[in-house]
């Protein structure tokens, strides 16, 4: 990176907003599917698995772009604790975006369930059958899902705080998918 950008790249912004929709849908599908025994259960499960793998793929692409293209610097006037919170929360968001699908995949594998993406298309098992591993991964998937949702709420609150209270341009670094007004 030779110049300090004011915004994330258009591709980064597009990925952010597509993934925001996918991850929110994923979390609602997750808590919804485990709370019902109606046929909706099967529909939701059949979306949950391929959508999770799609999020994993998108998150890996996004991580590569982040490493290549970086991120706009935070405002110089931002207090250090807020800068630290911003950096840490982004690290944890990346860890969860990549970790949750892998944990889900491993959890299914440890229970010897076929990981079906579409009828006739399934992923290989990545763990042997194991009650103890299944339980460990199930707990991780369950509790980290709530942690991820809480972190997303915090992320939304922080973004709105930047936009509405500080009005410091941080919200605008990611706000629009449009390339209009793009510098360079």
């Amino acid at each position: 990176m030779t110049q300090v950008r004011q915004r994330f790249t258009p591709l980064q912004r597009l990925l952010h907003w597509v993934m925001a929709l996918c991850i929110l849908a994923m979390l609602f599908i997750g808590v919804g599917m485990v709370s019902t025994i109606t046929p909706t259960y099967l529909s939701l499960v059949s979306i949950h698995k391929p959508l999770g793998i799609a999020i994993l793929v998108l998150a890996l692409i996004r991580l590569a772009l982040r490493l290549r293209d970086g991120a706009p610097a935070l405002p110089t006037g931002l207090p250090e604790p807020m800068k630290l919170a911003a950096h840490l929360s982004h690290v944890v968001l990346y860890l969860l975006m990549i970790g949750m699908p892998l944990i889900g995949w491993a959890m299914m594998s440890a229970a010897a369930y076929p990981v079906v993406l579409f009828p006739g298309i399934h992923l290989p098992s990545i763990l042997p059958l194991s009650a103890s591993l299944h339980t460990l991964l199930w707990n991780a998937h369950f509790y980290l899902a709530f942690a991820l949702f809480a972190l997303i709420l915090l992320h939304v609150a922080a973004a709105l705080y930047h936009a509405l209270v500080r009005n410091d341009g941080v919200f605008e670094t990611m706000a629009s998918v449009s390339v209009a007004g793009e510098e360079g």
């Binding site: 025994i37 099967l42 369930y113 006739g120 194991s130 591993l133 199930w138 709420l153 709105l160 341009g169």
Partner: protein, 352 residues
């Protein structure tokens, strides 16, 4: 980076209220979706809870069909099913099978003569890695018409209120036929002499894309020998597991898999209603049970015979039971695998 001031500052209080409202609405929508505001929603937890009295769950065991024994063998497909479904399992050939004979009870220590309904869990794997899992019982039709009615049955039978069962029976007329079957069907002394019926309807899709509503059954090739329940009791509490172990040591047991096709208008959504006997039937192959293994260290211990694990070419129908069973079986699986220390297996655990 400079701090741009692109719009006039808003009221601080107004902004903070807006942020709190957005976060609060998000959290509330999540809680609503999770059912936290809907205590009457029939969740997998509530359904599974209903199988056992509180604090009397069979720790480490399946929450229903808790008593069982593993088997392995093959499914010999004769190729006839290929006209009905593109599933690889219907191409003629031999495919490995893992299964479990079981008793329909939440008590893993129930004496055999106290449980009138017997079942079989089955998993057939094809070389393309696809699986067909099924869990069947020996009754010719199910006890109730809907998953909600099944939950009501569990609630009523577990209730201390003497009026609970009569009220349930009055409200669910279909249960009478099942109770009559339980009271009149002859007992046998062997898992090998029982038929195992899928009961739920599924959809087979053939090579032309045409869909067929079907049910399947495994019909024993061993001749059923009726036995009085008193004589079965005299053989001991675990006579069925001892008998099937001895029998299979002497030679394999076989079942013919028969697929029944619905006529237009047949009740596909209600497993308590058997289809008329004249419906077209296709024999698609033979299940050969070759080896019996105790459940504790057996290959079926940590397998969930979820009836919605289906190969391409078979899908669920408008029958609501497979979805309800899948949700409940998964919950039962999550609980019992977390309780493995109460019923430890070693053979199927990953070696360190």
């Amino acid at each position: 980076m400079p701090e741009p001031r692109r719009s006039p500052p808003r009221s601080l209080i107004g902004s903070l209220v807006l942020i709190a409202a957005v976060v609060g609405c998000g959290a509330a929508a999540f809680a609503y979706t999770a059912g936290w505001f809907s205590p009457r929603r029939l969740t997998p937890d509530r359904l599974v809870d209903a199988f056992s009295p509180p604090n009397a769950e069979p720790l480490g065991h399946r929450r229903n069909h808790a008593k069982g024994i593993c088997f392995t063998g093959v499914f010999e497909s004769n190729g006839a099913g290929a006209t009905l479904s593109t599933a690889r399992v219907f191409t003629s050939g031999q495919y490995p099978v893992l299964g479990r004979f079981n008793l329909a009870t939440p008590n893993p220590d129930a004496p055999d003569a106290t449980v009138p309904v017997r079942g079989m869990g089955l998993r057939i794997t094809t070389p393309d890695g696809q699986q067909w899992r099924s869990a069947m019982i020996d009754a010719p039709f199910f006890a109730v018409a809907t998953p909600q009615a099944f939950y009501a049955l569990l609630e009523a039978s577990g209730s201390k209120d003497p009026k609970a069962m009569p009220e349930f029976i009055a409200a669910h007329r279909e249960f009478g036929a099942f109770a009559a079957w339980v009271g009149s069907a002859p007992w046998t002394g062997s898992y090998a002499e029982e038929p195992y019926n899928g009961l739920n309807s599924f959809i087979f899709t053939d090579g032309s894309g045409a869909e067929h509503a079907v049910r399947w059954s495994l019909i024993p090739q061993a001749k059923p020998v009726p036995i009085s329940v008193d004589d079965l009791a005299k053989r001991g509490p675990d006579a069925l597991e001892q008998e099937i172990t001895t029998r299979i040591q002497a030679g394999p047991a076989r079942w013919t898999m028969v697929v029944s096709l619905a006529n237009p208008g047949d009740p596909t959504a209600d497993p308590s209603k058997a289809w008329p006997a004249d419906r077209r039937k296709v024999e698609v192959g033979t299940l050969v049970v070759q080896q019996i293994e105790p459940e504790r260290d057996g290959p079926c211990l940590n397998i969930n015979f979820d009836p919605t694990v289906l190969p391409k070419g078979i899908t669920t129908s408008d029958d609501p039971f497979p979805a309800a069973r899948s949700a409940a079986y998964a919950k039962s699986y999550d609980r019992r695998t977390a309780e493995a220390k109460y019923y430890p297996g070693t053979a199927t655990e990953a070696k360190p």
